[in-house]
Amino acid sequence: MSRSLIPVSRIGVEERAAALGRRSIKTTAKRQGILLATSMIDLTTLEGADTPGKVRHLCAKAVCPDPARPEIPSVAAVCVYPSLVAVAREALEGTGVKVASVATGFPSGQTSLAVKVEETRDAVAAGATEIDMVISREAYLAGDDARVAHEIQAVKEACGSAHLKVILETAELPTYAHVRHASQLAIDAGADVIKTSTGKASQGATPGVVLVMLETVRDHFERTRQVVGVKAAGGVSTTKAALHMLVLVKETLGDEWLTPDRFRIGASSLLNDLLLQYAKLDGGHYGRPEDFSKE
């Protein structure tokens, strides 16, 4: 069956996304925005060199990003590889910060469905309450939407009560129309959250891509009243970029979507820039990067 795409104008999308990037966010709006963005972070470490020690440090930071400023909220979740889920779960026990794990042959997704399902079960059993899966781009680019959907459904089933975030890896999709199409495909197959990127591709969460995904979620909500979340991951490393994301959400989906339940930012270095900028608002001058702990 041939795929039918809803048209999306590249120029129009990028123009609108850029225009929203020019909103002027100052003073109280900046302060509140920084706190809000912090609370939406999936603090992430996805390196081959990750160890239990590093993950414990990250978890401490996730719960209390800046001990000198208790008003700064905890982040939403800590995101790790499946093998480190147990460490994160123990470190975050009782804190309210969630444990997320990538699964399904992250980041390429080039393994069999059986392995993907098994990996998901493993991560959930170890204590992950959120699973970040990748779609099979191999199937999607070959036009096999049915297989993409089937894999998402199978992983969703393996998740049980865990939340499923479906990574589209938009940098590897041909056009914005495909971003929109793949978003809807993931939603229809059971995604709780649609997510832009693995952070391992050439591009991450560009404003245009996030805008198209937000519009897909908005239209789906209009049609069905079903809430789907969005996660911008990859490349959102500055306060300015994070606030741009919040503006996109606010002016596309509205204030109801400005909560960690409905919008997340996947990032590793963003948090320290948010803390730096917050301290600047507080103290009137920039701190040194070494004032903030590196995990």
Partner: protein, 483 residues
């Protein structure tokens, strides 16, 4: 330790552009013959900020004697300017363009204060485009032989130019840059309600060292414009209402005075079912709410293919409700103040007529400031082709929505207007886009975008929207005499 969780509400804090960017003089004279001079038989009026009704400055208004003086000054400067080497003329235009850029922030603030448009627009559109027009025509000054395909040519002489209040500096640039590039001298009359940026432009002209009398700028009301077009000029360029344009054409009938008119419009924005709908909605918003709809080419008649009409209206309404209406100086404002009390009255009158004639009005509910002139973004549904709101130019933030069934019907409806300035076509199908565009009787057709301006593109109308083109090489033609 447990996670800190507080419910956060997030809104933009006020982000006003600093008024200090602009220092206005308490009073401005007329700019004639390279110097400031008091009006001899004119008056002085206060120009106000339409967003607050506060007085900004006192401005000299030219009387008939002042108009004659300005034309004489331009006449005296004409031979010298025409004899100036084209490359040198270009250098002055480059200099003016660069000075506009240097003073861009100040000009943007003054444009917003005097006219009510959002600073976002004056900063990102009006002022950069004004500079771009001078840059573009600076480059043409020594290439007229190529632009005119080798025809022998001479300047017209003295041109009288009357510009409107919706894009005060930009319209002045549209008029002056090609006139000077072709070797003419000019008398420019800015609009009654928005003279200030033209007067700052006069300061820039002085600073540029342009020979005295090549550009003369005389604020005034309609009577000064009427006197200017009937004075001893060789060419008239007018942008404004169709009614005044017709008067000018009558006055100049049978004379050797050249004339170009850029008049009103009731432009159709046509959306097909195969368009990228979300981006089309942005285009509809840009088409009608840009500059509060004070745009001659505003997409004020929205034609929707019936199969998607309901969905598009829903999306459009949701998008309209997110428009930020208010303080024009705030960098986050999308829709500013109506330019004048007079214009507000005209918009209100036509909107009331729309309601009386049975169309369904929907205006967004937003808190409008207590003082100043404001009108909420509005759309009309259930509109009939004969309704006044379909036929007459409203020149405000009001869009009339109609439906069509086939491309043929869309073209018929779009062309069913006394005007023919612009149109928009929204479809993802390239063949259809070109087929429809070529059937439209409109001077500008935008495909999958709207209200995009560029100094290299010709702009102008069909039918009662006027004649002559501005912009690009075509914009040189009205300012030369081909011999």
């Amino acid at each position: 330790m447990t996670a800190t969780r507080t419910k956060l509400h997030w809104d933009y804090a006020p982000a006003p552009e600093s008024r200090d960017a602009a220092t206005l003089k308490p009073s401005y004279d007329l700019f004639i013959g390279g110097a400031w001079s008091a009006p001899t038989d004119g008056t002085r009026i206060k120009t106000i900020n339409p967003a607050t009704e506060e007085e900004l400055a006192e401005v000299a208004f030219a009387g008939p004697g002042d108009v004659a003086r300005a034309v004489e000054a331009a006449r005296a400067a004409a031979p010298g300017w025409a004899a100036t080497a084209p490359l040198e003329r270009g250098k002055y235009l480059f200099r003016i363009a660069r000075l506009i850029q240097e003073r861009a922030r100040e000009l943007a603030v003054v444009e917003t204060l005097d006219g009510g448009k959002p600073i976002r627009e004056s900063r990102d559109v009006d002022i950069p485009l004004a500079a771009a027009h001078f840059f573009s025509y600076a480059g043409w000054a020594d290439k007229l032989d190529y632009a005119l395909a080798g025809r022998a040519h001479a300047p017209r002489g003295v041109v009288g130019q009357v510009v409107p209040w919706n894009f005060p500096l930009l319209m002045a640039a549209w008029k002056l840059a090609p006139a000077l590039a072709c070797g003419n001298t000019a008398v420019l009359k800015p609009a009654e309600t928005t003279p200030l940026t033209a007067l700052l432009l006069a300061e820039i002209v002085q600073e540029s060292g342009l020979p005295d009398g090549v550009i003369n700028i005389i604020p005034g009301d309609g009577s000064a414009g009427a006197a200017l077009v009937r004075s001893n000029v060789d060419k008239v360029a007018f942008t404004g209402s169709t009614a005044v344009g017709k008067e000018i054409q009558r006055a100049l009938a049978g004379t050797d005075v050249g004339l170009t008119l850029e008049l009103g419009g009731k432009s159709a924005n046509i959306l097909f079912e195969d368009a990228a709908l979300d981006q089309a909605v942005e285009g509809i918003i840009e088409g009608i709410f840009f500059n509060q709809g004070h745009v001659c080419c505003a997409g004020s008649r929205l034609l929707l293919q019936e199969s998607v009409a309901e969905e598009v209206v829903r999306k459009l309404w949701a998008r309209m409700e997110r428009l930020r209406v208010g303080d024009p100086l705030d960098k986050n404002t999308d829709v500013g103040a109506i330019n004048s009390a007079e214009q507000l009255a005209r918009i209100s009158e036509l909107v009331e007529a729309g309601e009386r004639e049975g169309a369904t009005r929907r205006s967004i509910t937003c808190a409008l400031p207590e003082t100043g002139y404001w009108f909420p973004p509005t759309l009309f549904l259930d509109v009939a082709p004969a309704n006044r709101i379909t036929v007459e130019e409203i020149f405000g933030p009001v869009v009339s929505v109609m439906t069509f069934r086939t491309p043929k019907e869309a073209v018929e409806r779009a062309n069913n207007s006394a005007y023919g300035l612009a149109a928009g076509v929204w479809t993802d199908n390239g063949a259809k886009a070109f087929e429809v565009a070529s059937a439209l009787r409109a001077g500008v057709v935008w495909q999958n975008t709207y209200n995009k301006f560029d100094p290299t593109a010709a702009f102008g109308g069909y039918k009662e929207s006027g004649f002559g083109r501005e912009g690009g090489p075509a914009g040189l033609l009205p300012y030369v005499r081909l011999t």
